[in-house]
Amino acid sequence: MQKTLFALALLFTLTASAQTDKYAQVMQKNIALLDSAKSIDELQSLAGTFERIGDAEKTKWLPYYYAALAQTWIGWNPATKDKDANSQKINAYLAKAEALEKNAELYAVENMSATQQMLVDPQSRFMTYGKTAADALQKGMQTDPNNPRLYYLQAMSVFGTPPQFGGGKDKAKPLFEKSIALFKSAQPKPLYPTWGQKQAEDMLAQCQ
């Protein structure tokens, strides 16, 4: 009897872990694809894949996060003309993720989405989308003061602001440095985002 129970328990654990393994495997594979994806079609297809994983899993925010992230990389591509429509997609993924969990990584993507919309017409949009972007950064830093990606994004925003307006290389440099230091000490959980360190190092080189 005890043996049978043990066998059943073991079988149950095995199938359960097979289930999670399938999730982890698929996620790992697609995260690797996302890291190497270049074309808009590749990224778009990955965003769709992550969304399907999220929809099927129902309780995991990470697939939606990666869907939003893939969509954000599409937004940074100059070939993407309609940034508003693209950000609408990013925000739709973010909304699905945030319904499950609100965290600093999602705020980082929200910041990029709003920044992309702001850049469409900085003059008239600074007060709206620019503020949304800044608010997202601030909320993110409140949630996780040691998130390296948020410091990287803040540094990027300072880097892009002319020195006369309180930005520039000199002011961005310490922020890139702080971001890289945080990247080095960060210990991300499996499947959690890791992007940003190389970008921050490249930018820091430009600040020298």
Binding site: L11, E51, S124
Partner: protein
């Protein structure tokens, strides 16, 4: 145990091998264009694909049995269809229907320039108004650099497409402004009463406007006041001619705000330093105080109250045009109190409500006296009546109370219907005294004006939209009603380009000065036909517009004596022309410029005109170029405006045997004006600064061109005196300070 697991794995693996189904196909829109980026998903599985740039997709799935396939893409209605996965390949053709969306949909542009910070179609923002050289932060002056408006310098108002100044009306938050300008001084244009910084958006419509607005034959300027300010602040203005202090306080919960300000203008010092043609015996001075209170309602609606009180006086002497050793001394005192209350509320089921109420009262005490070389009053024999009529005292008052309600209902998608009603009660009186003849007459009238209107925005597709409107109006003073239809169509010809058409009938009551004498008149009428093409990207706008405007029932003057007239509706006329506008913020970095050109052909027979004639406020060709550049390195911006207009006609029309005769006519020389302004914003970029300030300087008519706006004829008709500006150039230097919020941020954002 191991064995069981192995078998299990084998079964799974076998299943993997045998049950794969290939699903492929294309996703297109209803017109057959491929859709890129649509998501195709087997519900509750990981399997699916995303369509590529040709709309193609394919994927393999291990699922077996009956599932639902979901196809989604933002901007399209989602589609779900059952799918049976059994191993054999499946090929699908999917069509998605585009959702109607406000972002993508065409907007009707015929006749109107939208200006504002919030809207993407911004043509002029408040800061654009302030940094347009020559405007000196006057909204009307800045609007004159847009096509359709004339460069009229001797009278305030917007003279649009062959229309007189009074044919253009201004609305704040939906309600009419009775006295938008400071009271007229003969031959000197006055400024508008309202600062551009009160408003978040301005629509300048040069024709074909919505059924929500009536009583304007030519044009409406729609000003939308800002909701809650972004932060609390204190502002101060210091300049040799103006001092001001004000505050805006925003509640901590960001639900309500209030603010008040006061400013005082006295040009005495300035007129002593810069010589003026008229001899000012009372230096123009202006007191302005205002107060506002605004709060957000529970459902995101907004209640706003704004009031302003203004007092000004002035006195000036000018050369009399009948006698070279006499002068005409004109003096004016004005009190004005303006109130505006508005309530915008979002109701259930897609309903929106806009309520507005207004009260304003305006009191003028003005007079003129003929004086001799010693500035002493001069009297004349009874027979020199043309001189005696130059001595007068007028005390007049205009009160307007009004309410307006507009209800807006969203229909399926983005189409909507709105309807509402407007009621205005106007009281006008005028006491006219002539000391030479000991006359003392009081004219007055009341008018109850009612209007109901209905309008519908119908989007047939994202590319094709129609706006249909109808307005009914009734005025008790003339006891007439009218029915004004308005129709506009817009068709999107490309991602940034569109064609619009507008047609409408517009009615307007005769002016107060006519109604004092005759009430047995009807509405004047204009019919507009407009064709517009516009191409707009985020940094560039190109538009071309052609129009034809027909005037009917214009007021004609029937002379009874040298001074007394009656009026009737036998006048008529037309205006036709085309206009070009080009604005570019992209081609040169940090450089923003616009060019406008208007061609106008207009004639009308109205007032004392002897036949259809081109009115004296209409130039055939008008052009402006406005340039702005901000240099971040030196924290300064420089602005240049050049305006040009061909000469305008002038006439000497005299009364001869109870009939008007034209004894002389001509055309003024061309008009040129080159204006310059610069701002220095030292706190740009200094995020730690507590005090933010902007130093602003401007010179109007830099080249000192001698403008002539027209001529005044002596009674004999033998002498004509040119109408010129009071001084060739106007200089302004001022410092704007603010504590609490960085006003200089505006300047930066404008130039990013």
């Amino acid at each position: 145990m191991k064995r069981t697991a192995l078998i299990l794995a084998l079964i799974l693996f076998a299943g993997w091998l045998t049950a794969q189904t290939r699903v492929s196909g294309t996703v297109k829109d209803t017109k057959g264009h491929p859709i890129r980026g649509a998501s195709i998903t087997i519900k509750d599985s990981y399997d699916g694909a995303t369509s590529d740039s040709l709309g193609n997709f394919h994927f393999q799935t291990n699922e077996k049995g009956n599932f639902t396939l979901a196809i989604t893409n933002i901007g399209y209605n989602p589609v779900e269809q059952p799918i049976t996965l059994a191993g054999s390949p499946i090929e699908l053709r999917i069509a998605l229907k585009e959702q109607l969306s406000e972002l993508k949909a065409v907007t009707i542009t015929a006749g109107s320039f939208t200006a504002g910070d919030a809207k993407r179609g911004a043509v002029l923002s408040s800061l654009d108004v302030a940094t347009t050289a020559g405007s000196n932060a006057d909204i009307t002056a800045a609007l004159k650099t847009l096509p359709g408006a004339q460069q009229v310098g001797e009278q305030e108002g917007l003279f649009v497409r062959g229309g007189a100044g009074y044919e253009a009306k201004q609305y704040i938050d939906g309600t009419l402004v009775n006295n938008p300008y400071y009271t007229s001084v003969p031959d000197i244009a006055q400024r508008g009463r309202f600062s551009p910084f009160l408003f978040k958006g301005t629509v300048f419509s040069t024709g074909g406007y919505s059924a929500l607005y009536g009583q304007a034959l030519s044009s409406v300027v729609l000003l939308e006041s800002i909701d809650l300010p972004e932060k609390s602040e204190i502002d101060a203005t210091i300049s040799p001619i103006i001092v001001g202090l004000g505050t805006q306080q925003l509640a901590k919960n960001k639900k309500y705000s209030y603010g008040f300000s006061y400013n005082y203008v006295n040009v005495g010092l300035y007129f002593k330093a810069i010589k003026q043609v008229p001899d000012y015996f009372t230096m123009p001075q202006f007191h302005n105080g205002d107060f506002n209170f605004r709060f957000k309602t529970k459902n995101g609606g907004m209640v706003k109250y704004y009031t302003t009180f203004a007092y000004n006086d002035l006195g000036l002497r000018r050369q009399d045009w009948d006698s070279l050793n006499m002068k005409d001394a004109f003096s004016l005192t004005n009190h004005n109190w303006y109130n505006n209350l508005s309530w915008r509320e979002y109701l259930n089921n897609g309903w929106k409500m806009d309520l507005g109420a207004g009260y304003s009262t305006n009191l003028d005490n003005l007079g003129q006296q003929v004086q001799n070389a010693m500035n002493m009053p001069k009297s004349f024999a009874d027979t020199a009546f043309w001189m005696n009529f130059k001595n007068f005292q007028v005390d007049q008052r205009q009160d307007l109370s009004q309410i307006k309600a507009v209800f807006d209902k969203k229909l399926g998608g983005i189409s909507s219907i709105r309807f509402g009603s407007e009621y205005m009660y106007a009281y006008n009186n005028q006491r006219y005294r002539n000391p030479s003849y000991h006359t003392d007459s009081l004219y007055r009238f009341h008018d109850h004006y009612n209007a109901v209107f209905v309008e519908s925005d119908i989007f047939l597709t994202n590319e094709l939209a129609a706006k249909l409107g109808l307005r009914y109006e009734h005025s008790t003073i003339i006891n007439k009603s009218d029915l004004a239809p308005r129709v506009s169509l817009a068709y999107k010809t490309g991602p940034f380009a569109q064609v619009s058409l507008a047609y409408g009938i517009f009615y307007q009551k005769p002016e107060n000065s006519q109604l004092f004498y005759t009430t047995n008149v009807g509405f004047t009428r204009a019919t507009h036909y407009i064709l517009n093409y516009q191409r707009m990207t985020k940094d560039q706008i190109f538009r071309v517009e052609a129009y034809y405007k027909k005037y009917d029932d214009l007021i004609k003057t029937v002379p009874l004596s040298y001074f007394y007239n009656r009026y009737n509706n036998t006048g008529n006329g037309y205006a036709k022309g085309f206009e070009l506008f080009w604005r570019d913020k992209k081609s040169i970095k940090d450089f923003d410029y616009w060019i406008s050109y208007s061609y106008l052909d207009t004639k009308r027979d109205y007032l004392n005109f002897t036949e259809r004639m081109t009115p004296n406020f209409a130039a055939t060709h008008t052009a402006s170029i406005v340039m702005k550049r901000f240099f971040t390195r030196i924290k300064s911006g420089f602005n240049v405006t050049y305006s040009y207009a061909t000469g305008r006609p002038y006439y000497n029309i005299v009364l001869n045997n109870a009939k008007f005769d034209m004894t002389d006519q001509g055309k003024t020389k061309d008009y040129h004006s080159l204006n310059f302004s610069a701002e220095w914003v030292p706190s740009v970029g200094n995020t730690k600064a507590r005090t933010f300030w902007v130093l602003f300087a401007s010179v109007s008519n830099v080249l000192g061109y001698n403008a002539v706006y027209g001529y005044n004829y002596s009674y004999s008709g033998l002498y004509k005196q040119p109408v010129t500006p009071p001084a060739n150039r106007f200089y302004f230097i001022g410092c704007f300070l603010s504590w609490g919020v960085d006003r200089s941020q505006d300047a930066i954002n404008n130039n990013l």
